[in-house]
């Protein structure tokens, strides 16, 4: 098959954005047409990626749909390709993007055209991250996302948006420039930045530790891991709903993906060496940020801190390096992508009506917004990992993986499950049940049609993958086994070399 399907998927949103940016004419018509273009291009992309999933061959661990073109001659190739792991992230991205667009159209009040352009460009950049098989291309997409995200937070954000946008931008940039140094160093050590070639090459052991740390600095900020997470609550709180959704559902996953693809794949010795560090940071993240989440009086902040805790599970799963752990953390990332997106949308719904994110200004919503109360309940239960929702599958597998490696880690991580139940249920109780906090709540309208469609699709997926996660496992199974095999053989290679 010669059709460059990955490039198509990556760049369709960008083309949509270009279309929107060149439309001229009467304000109303332009607005309408740009909405249609945005919806059309993102949905078309979603269906294209579904098609990609069907034509994806899950029985091989090789990279598929490879595209390779000269980019900077004799130096960097524009190299795309996917395996099972990236396949699922592409699906997640193309699924979340239309949701953001619908939610944006529904709730953004000014500069809608620019907003749609920013979201579409963001989609292109995020898809590029998951498709690219060259470190420099990866970096380009990874970093490029800063620009639209900065604008999304800064232009359409809340009251403290400037502070949050700056913090987000500078934190991430600082982490990433160190990764850039590492990428360039890899080029001079190994002579290439091509991921496939690098996976076969063995980078000398003495370089691995520093390189690993440089990549870690970037991913740890992006993921975010404790203590590099401080930008996240601010960014989440101030970003518009669609921005928070993109941040939580996809941007954070880039880091998890990076850990899997690059940290494990390229630096096995260093990964092995630094595993205790990751475990300690993850445990702190799970317990500490869960406790912090418990004390929040701002709904968005609470969900943001819970994201940090959930990402702690992901890193434990990845660095447990067991099959269950890795598969669990992939599923955990996907389900967290869906659940956190859903939760932020839920907050967005009430925020659009009341213009307050404070938990104390709500209460008794069950009376006026029964449908809303129902979907919010499903998402709350999914977030705390109730069996039957996708949240359970991921967390359970991660814990199974962790038990095989280190029982203390597993036990401490399990505490996080309890804590998450505590803060999520308490949040639900305070917002939905109880007395009505003010007379305004009586006048609140229940969710409208667009919102129902958005939530219905999310509920469907969360429940579907909670009950029947088989399709996901089928896709990633071989790729994950291959990842672990490679890791083990590489590690043994270095260990025998060290012993000799």
């Amino acid at each position: 098959m010669n059709f460059p399907i990955l490039s198509a998927i990556t760049f369709i949103p960008l083309i949509g954005a270009l279309f929107i940016s060149i439309t001229r004419g009467e304000q109303k018509i332009v607005l309408k047409s740009s909405k249609y273009v945005a919806i059309f291009s993102s949905l078309a992309n979603f269906f294209l990626s579904i098609f990609l999933w069907f034509s994806f061959d899950a029985s091989t661990s090789e990279f598929q749909f490879i595209e390779k073109r000269d980019w900077i001659k004799g130096f960097i190739n524009f190299h795309l390709g996917i395996d099972g792991i990236s396949m699922l992230f592409i699906l997640l991205t193309t699924f979340i993007a239309p949701i953001c667009i619908f939610s944006g159209i529904n709730s953004i009040k000014f500069k809608i055209k620019e907003f749609l352009i920013a979201i579409l460009i963001m989609e292109t950049l995020m898809l590029g991250v998951f498709c690219s098989l060259d470190l420099v291309i990866f970096y380009l997409f990874f970093e490029g996302g800063l620009i639209p995200m900065f604008l999304i937070i800064g232009i359409w954000g809340g009251a403290k948006r400037v502070y949050s946008a700056f913090k987000f931008f500078l934190f991430t940039l600082l982490g990433s420039v160190l990764m850039l140094i590492a990428i360039i160093s890899i080029y001079w050590i190994a002579g290439t930045t091509d991921v496939i070639e690098l996976l076969d090459l063995n980078i000398p052991q003495e370089y691995q530790y520093l390189l690993w740390l440089a990549f870690f600095s970037s991913f740890a900020v992006k993921l975010p891991m404790w203590p590099f997470h401080t930008w996240l609550p601010d960014a989440h709180v101030e970003a518009p709903t669609a921005g928070s959704v993109i941040l939580a559902a996809i941007l954070l996953k880039m880091a998890g993906y990076g850990f899997m693809r690059f940290s494990l794949g390229l630096f096995p010795v260093a990964s092995d060496y630094f595993t205790p560090l990751i475990f300690v940071l993850s445990i702190i993240a799970i317990i500490y940020t869960s406790l912090v989440a418990l004390m929040q009086d701002d709904m968005k902040k609470l969900i943001a801190y819970s994201s940090v805790a959930h990402m702690g599970f992901v890193t434990i799963g990845i660095f447990s390096l067991t099959k269950q752990g890795l598969e669990g953390s992939i599923i955990q990332m996907l389900s967290h992508g869906l659940i956190s997106a859903a939760l932020f949308l839920c907050v967005g719904v009430v925020y659009d009506r009341m213009h307050s994110r404070m938990i104390s200004s709500y209460g008794g919503l069950a009376n006026t917004m029964p449908k809303y109360a129902f979907v919010f309940m499903i998402f709350t239960l999914a977030a705390l990992g109730l069996p039957g929702t996708s949240g359970f599958v991921g967390e359970f597998l991660v814990l199974v993986g962790a038990f095989q490696i280190n029982i203390f880690v597993a036990i401490l991580a399990s505490l996080g499950v309890i804590l998450s139940a505590a803060y999520m249920l308490w949040l639900y109780k305070r917002v939905i049940f109880g007395k009505m906090a003010s007379s305004d709540i009586k006048e609140m309208t229940d969710i409208n049609k667009t919102e129902i469609y958005i939530f219905a699709s999310l509920v469907f997926l969360i429940l579907f993958f909670g009950i029947y996660p088989e399709p996901l496992f089928n896709t990633i199974d071989i790729s994950v086994s291959n990842l672990i095999d490679n890791y083990q053989t590489d590690l043994n290679f270095y260990l025998t070399k060290a012993n000799n």
Partner: protein
């Protein structure tokens, strides 16, 4: 007679200068005509330079060299001189500095730069340098009724004369200890044991560092940038940098190539100091021209980092960096020229407040340019830095690389601050929109080049990869 062909561009420019002076004398109110002829003659000079033979030629007793480097740099000089004149015409006319001397002096300083770029001998080099500098002093104080402009001209003159003195002093050392003013002979006679000549090198580097405004010889830059008329500032920020960097490269890699151990540390220091100061000092600025001054100091720090590597790829990365820097600054000054309301040009950053509301397209190109200046991918500014750090890390100069990249983060802050003012703040009174077509064209060209550079980055690399110094 044979050699005349090789200096055709320089000859042509000298004749044009004299001819234009005549026009100015005999025709009254001839600024528009002279300006037009200047612009056209710059274009024609580019054609002449491009027509020069592809081989390396040394003429006038080997004191004048035409090679790939000089051709590339000359084209760059003439091209950006052309664009600067094109984009600043409106400003010149609105500020009553539309005297015929203005384009002529610019042309004369450009001639000086061409001579500097091609020089292969200390004396020729100094001639070119002085021709260039004298014209720049006049330009800085061109708005002679304005106190700040006069002040900046005087300041520039005093400090630059001092630097030239030091440079000349260094030249005399070099001549005394190597017995020649010719670059190749100097190179052959120089070695680490020749302490006297090494002294000379330090003085020459000080002089050159002044010209590229590298820290700690940068003091004049913010004041001169702020005080001079903006049209002159944009000229200062772009064109003399080309000649200065080009001469820097030639000095380090032709006469001083054998004593790289002696000068490398100095350049690394200059580079690190410029990057740090350029990033930190710009944070508190409220005048956009001052901000651009510090930003250009920082950028020169990155360009020097490429020179400090002592490799061919380092030089090439510096040249790529310089090229992209020029495009970005052309755009940035284009935006500054557009901050006009009722024939008054505004310079305060806060005047940009809410620009995105009133002028979406202008705000968008400013956004692209600022993100590119900050070095965020996938814009051109990122690639400029990328190549520099490729070269730096190749030589395992990790400290330089890490400091350089961390200062990018710091400097990103003040570019973001401008973007914040443009996009997040409340709109003010709109600016006028009757832009001059030349200004529009140069802004559009530069922002589009910055934006689409990532599609085919090889194009610049391929052109520059033919420039080999040694």
């Amino acid at each position: 007679m044979q050699t005349i062909i090789y200096i055709l561009p320089e000859l042509f420019l000298s004749i044009v200068i004299m001819f234009l002076l005549m026009i100015g004398v005999f025709i009254k109110k001839s600024f528009k005509l002279v300006n037009l002829l200047t612009v056209l003659s710059l274009l024609f000079a580019i054609v002449l330079v491009l027509n020069q033979p592809d081989e390396i030629v040394k003429i006038f007793n080997e004191s004048y060299i035409i090679d790939q480097l000089s051709i590339y740099m000359k084209v760059l000089t003439l091209l950006f001189c052309f664009f600067v004149l094109l984009s600043s015409k409106d400003y010149i006319q609105n500020n009553n500095i539309d005297k015929i001397e203005y384009p002529i002096i610019i042309l004369a300083s450009t001639l000086g730069m061409l001579i500097m770029i091609s020089s292969n001998d200390l004396i020729i080099f100094y001639l070119g340098l002085e021709l260039q500098s004298l014209c720049l002093y006049i330009l800085a104080s061109f708005k002679r009724n304005d106190e700040r402009s006069t002040e900046s001209g005087l300041k520039y003159f005093v400090l630059s004369a001092l630097a030239s003195g030091l440079l000349l002093y260094g030249c005399s050392f070099i001549y005394g200890f190597t017995g020649s003013t010719n670059f190749e002979i100097i190179s052959a006679n120089l070695n680490d044991a020749n302490t006297g000549a090494v002294f000379g090198i330090v003085f020459i580097i000080v002089g050159l560092a002044f010209k590229v405004s590298a820290v700690p010889f940068h003091m004049w830059t913010p004041d001169v940038y702020e005080g001079s008329p903006t049209s002159v500032t944009s000229f200062f920020a772009l064109v003399p940098k080309i000649a200065a960097i080009s001469v820097f490269i030639r000095f380090m890699y032709v006469p001083f190539v054998n004593v790289i151990n002696q000068w490398q540390t100095i350049i690394i220091f200059l580079s690190i100091a410029s990057m740090i100061l350029g990033a930190v000092a710009a944070i508190g600025q409220s005048n956009i021209k001052r901000l651009m001054a510090y930003s250009s100091i920082g950028h020169m720090g990155y360009a020097l980092a490429g020179i400090a590597t002592g490799t061919n790829s380092g030089i090439q990365s510096t040249i790529i960096y310089l090229t992209i820097y020029l495009v970005m600054n052309l755009g940035a000054f284009g935006c500054i020229f557009m901050m006009k309301r009722e024939n008054i040009f505004y310079e305060n950053i806060n005047d940009l407040s809410g620009l995105s509301k009133n002028h979406p397209m202008l705000a968008l190109s400013f956004l692209i340019i600022l993100f590119s200046l900050a070095g965020i991918p996938p814009l051109a500014g990122f690639f400029a830095k990328f190549y520099i750090f490729m070269a730096v890390i190749e030589m395992k100069m990790y400290t330089l690389a890490i400091i350089g990249l961390v200062t990018t983060v710091v400097s990103a802050f003040y570019y973001l601050r401008v973007i914040k003012i443009i996009y997040f703040d409340k709109p003010k009174k709109p600016f006028e929109e009757n832009y001059d077509w030349g200004l529009k064209i140069s802004l559009i060209i530069s922002s589009i080049l910055i934006l689409i550079y990532f599609i085919y980055p090889s194009i610049l690399v391929d052109t520059i990869s033919s420039i080999l110094i040694y």
